[in-house]
Symmetry: C2
Subunit: 252 residues, 2 copies
């Protein structure tokens, strides 16, 4: 289904590209959070350099041997799982400062695909070496655990969304989540470009692309947002939030 099959060129590591964590403006969002200058230097020294990816390129594929986790330095990714029987589910969208690849730790093999949705750049963090260092730096160890736990909690949120919400509620939650993450990164909370297609949004939200499209249109008709293809402007955040909390209180 994806048109990118041919783009399976293994992205090469770009050594000159390396930028120390201590210099990185994402350090407060990313793995080095809470480290001293000195410890950050130690983390720097194990990071295997950066890797640039063009839109559509895979960072890794299901079945690849797991060696590293990745910190998104710039750009936008999606992760998806696909099963033998042809099911395909987007499990997440990742942006700058977020960690990708932790699915591979459990079996030493990646269980999902990670694809760049725009030209992107990641820092490569060899996992075995990270474990060594984290056994020496208490705060690094603890933060790594927090990052993994946060992923578990995030997944619970998605399960809640998929299990209990209706189409418009899901889309509202999705937009508010993006808005919130853009805010954290210093971008506009109300105006942004979607990097993914309607189909990818639909897959993530457990909906068909037509349903996503219709929900966008309805939100626009009601003055909640303005949509022009992938360009979104949120016009009424408070009212969007009320969509998530059914007025009747739905106290089961």
């Amino acid at each position: 289904m994806h048109a990118n099959v041919k783009q399976n060129v293994v992205p090469l590591i770009t050594p000159g590209l390396k930028l120390a964590c201590s210099q990185c403006n994402l350090r407060e969002l990313c793995l080095p959070f809470g480290l001293s200058e000195h410890d950050m230097g130690r983390l720097d020294s194990l990071i295997g350099g950066a890797r640039k990816l063009k839109r559509g390129q895979h960072l890794y594929r299901a079945g690849d041997v797991f060696e590293s986790i990745f910190a998104v330095k710039a750009g936008f990714f999606k992760t998806d799982v696909l099963t033998e029987d042809g099911r395909d589910q987007v499990t997440g969208f990742q942006m700058a400062g977020e960690i990708v690849g932790m699915d591979g730790i459990s079996t030493e093999v990646h269980t999902c695909n990670a694809v760049a949705l725009e030209d992107s750049e990641v820092c490569l963090i060899p996992f075995t070496e990270l474990e060594v260092l984290s056994s020496e730096i208490r705060s690094l160890q603890h933060h790594l655990h927090k990052v993994m736990s946060r992923e578990i909690v995030r997944d619970h949120g998605v399960m809640m969304l998929l299990g209990t919400m209706r189409a418009e509620e899901r889309l509202a939650a999705f937009l508010l989540n993006l808005s919130q993450r853009f805010t954290t990164r210093g971008y506009s909370p109300t105006e942004f470009h979607l990097r993914m297609t309607r189909e990818e949004i639909g897959s993530y939200l457990g909906l068909k692309l037509e349903t996503v499209s219709r929900a966008f249109s309805r939100f626009q008709d009601e003055g909640l947002i303005s949509v022009q293809q992938k360009h979104i402007r949120i016009l009424d955040i408070p009212r969007l939030k009320t969509l998530l909390a059914p007025p009747d209180g739905r106290i089961r």
Copy 2:
């Protein structure tokens, strides 16, 4: 909605109950997996004892301060998230040898509830001390990471289920998953008691209890299983498996 609100008695630790990991027949499924005798002894010494819970009792609640993770020693648990707006989603069912509570690591506060579905027993594993020990024992550290990663991968599986499967497919996947886990623990793969209600199954699978009940009945009519309240006998595992792989191949 739950009738168990009054049973909020804090379960006390039962010191005499402590049974060393090395004596535990779950050690190959649980945290001590892969440890030497000696290291298992060190793990034993930090485990804070066992805790018994009656059916309906909470192991922890959303909002509780996070201090420990728990290994299920006997019994059966569910975890669920509930939001301010009254949504309620069962995020998992846990049985012997499985680890509960990792949702709390990220914010130091639990984000979901864990409730015993039958009289149960857990080992209490203080997390800070576990971190200390795991920085000293490489294989323990790595196994902890694997356990957390496995939880992430499991959640992806649930997202796939909720996002792409129809009611009967979800229930078939659920039964096969239980069957597989019972097998691992030496119980019958084909005959078991459900510890949870139709409503809890429905919440986990993103369905209403009536839909779950109807799907059970249809499976029974078709000779796939036999159902009598909570007692399940799987009659035809292969055919149940084919329900998961749509014959047309559904290659989107």
